[in-house]
């Protein structure tokens, strides 16, 4: 009982943290896109669509992987990879975007390409976490509905906080480059936690 409660607390904490970081990255991405592609509703449409595609791919991939492996370590490794990718963004974003701007232009194709290179891969890897969390916590079908509700609810709380706190508090204090790297480090740290607590998270299981 004690064991499963702790597992729940750990996975829900990870869900809030990763939810926070995920939306934080979406808001930060707008700061990278504006100087090259303008700050209109078209930039936001491309950005939001890209994030939703990443969520879709992550959910599909995560579901497939967790059923096959039941491995928190694998999920952790994907999160570390996402963190490393995101951490490197400030290093290459400017040359890449100016190349896209001259090569592709600032229309929909250009903005979507920009948002895709920035976020698609790492946010896909982050959202792999959600099906992993559901499956790892699922011990009985009786509670299945509630459990899925909790996991999505809790990670959405993280999303909401990540959106508001990032924009209204963190960005005016720290600037977007530093924040990107801090969020990336937090993402990687979540991954490390999963790798290190592999046995614990996997539980007694069959």
């Amino acid at each position: 009982m004690q064991h499963s409660l702790l597992r729940g607390v750990l996975l829900f904490t990870l869900a809030v943290t990763l939810g926070f970081a995920l939306m934080g990255f979406e808001m930060l991405a707008s700061r990278y896109l504006y100087p090259y592609f303008g700050g209109g509703i078209n930039t936001w449409a491309s950005l939001i669509a890209t994030v939703l595609v990443a969520l879709m791919l992550g959910y599909l991939l995560g579901g497939a992987l967790v059923d096959r492996t039941m491995s928190p370590r694998l999920c952790g490794m994907l999160l570390v990879a996402a963190g490393l990718y995101l951490f490197s963004i400030p290093l290459w974003v400017d040359p890449l975007f100016s190349w896209i701007l001259t090569g592709v232009g600032d229309g929909m194709a250009g903005i979507v390409l920009g948002a895709t290179t920035l976020l698609l891969l790492p946010l896909t890897l982050i959202s792999v976490f959600t099906p992993f969390a559901v499956r790892l916590l699922l011990t009985s079908v009786t509670f299945g509905g509630r459990l899925v509700g909790y996991v999505y609810g809790v990670s959405t709380v993280g999303n909401v906080l990540g959106t508001l706190v990032t924009v209204f508090t963190l960005m005016p204090m720290f600037g977007s480059r530093a924040l990107t790297m801090v969020f990336a480090a937090i993402t990687a740290a979540c991954g490390l936690v999963m790798i290190l607590s592999h046995r614990f998270l996997r539980g007694p299981g069959p």
Partner: protein
């Protein structure tokens, strides 16, 4: 089911009524049509409202239930610059040794570029406007006409400058979206890009609203790239002129203004306008960068309109 079948009848009734009303409207004399809301358009970037008021037509962007004037024109005198600060925007042409090429970011109704184009018919002028509907409405309501020498480009101002390597003698920046200037048109990186597109002796001219803390950061940022920044007050707005090299002596600037005035016979005399010059000496704001530009936060802190003068001195 029966309720639904009533609707077409109701709709027919409405359209008949609308037809009568439209008929009445077209029967009204022409002058009456020029008053009130002439056109409203929801473009991809703005909610644009065109108002007529007897002799004048105004382009506004709606924001927060308020209308922000972007441009105004007197129908009986379309060549006039009705918004006070725009007269000072034209002062940019007094600074460079020659003015052959002018770029404007933010078209509005196009009065400033039209004015400059008629005074400098040989100059090549390009107005960059992000919103194609603004260009259309300028043509439709503000008698804005493009020509070989006065062209428009529909693009974000910054991405236009990045993609186009041409050099300019004067770059005018007046890109407001309602009350806001997009952050990426207020950073050190942006001004560095602007500077790299200025011909030797060229100047950047920007309209800045002085009633919030954002003003201090905007002038400090401009000053971090352009060692000399002059400020002119016009109708509550401040027009900043930035250029490379040491600050011009007032006598020298007067002489240049007199020469330009003589050559181009501007309706609004450059010689009188240069006397309003203040020189930025002590920028107090924080320099904005692509990385750190909390423009919304800064804009939320109001300050007295006159306070900006503390940062300046009279020219010598």
């Amino acid at each position: 089911m029966t309720r639904i079948s009533v609707f077409p009848a109701v709709r027919r009734g409405f359209s008949a009524l609308a037809g009568v009303l439209l008929g009445l409207a077209s029967w009204q004399p022409l002058a009456a049509q020029q008053t009130g809301l002439l056109e409203t358009r929801e473009s991809i970037y703005n909610n644009i409202f065109i108002f007529g008021d007897g002799d004048s037509v105004t382009m506004t962007f709606g924001h927060n239930k308020r209308y922000f004037t972007e441009s105004r024109m007197k129908l009986s005198d379309p060549g006039a610059l009705s918004v006070e600060y725009t007269k000072y925007m034209t002062l940019g042409v007094a600074y460079p040794p020659k003015v052959e090429r002018i770029l404007e970011i933010g078209l509005g109704g196009g009065s400033t570029v039209s004015y400059l184009s008629s005074a400098l018919p040989d100059a090549s002028i390009v107005a960059v406007e992000i919103d194609k509907d603004v260009v259309e409405l300028a043509r439709k309501h503000f008698r804005f006409t493009e020509s070989e020498k006065l062209r428009t480009a529909v693009s974000d101002g910054r991405s236009y400058l990045m993609r186009d390597n041409a050099m300019w003698d004067v770059i005018l920046i007046d890109a407001y979206r309602g009350p806001f200037v997009p952050f990426h048109l207020l950073t050190r990186e942006f001004y560095a890009l602007v500077k790299s597109r200025l011909a030797p002796g060229g100047v950047v001219v920007q309209n800045i609203e002085p009633s919030t803390m954002l003003f201090d950061s905007a002038t400090a940022t401009l000053n971090s790239v352009f060692p000399s920044v002059d400020l002119y007050e016009g109708g509550g707005n401040v027009v900043a002129v930035g250029y490379s090299g040491p600050s011009l002596r007032q006598a020298e600037l007067r002489e240049r203004a007199a020469r330009a005035q003589e050559r181009h016979k501007f309706r609004y005399d450059l010689r009188t306008m240069v006397d309003a010059r203040r020189v930025l000496q002590r920028p107090t704001g924080k320099v904005l960068t692509d990385d750190f530009a909390p423009v919304e936060t800064l804009r939320a802190i109001e300050q007295k309109n006159e306070k900006w003068k503390d940062q300046t001195e009279a020219p010598r």
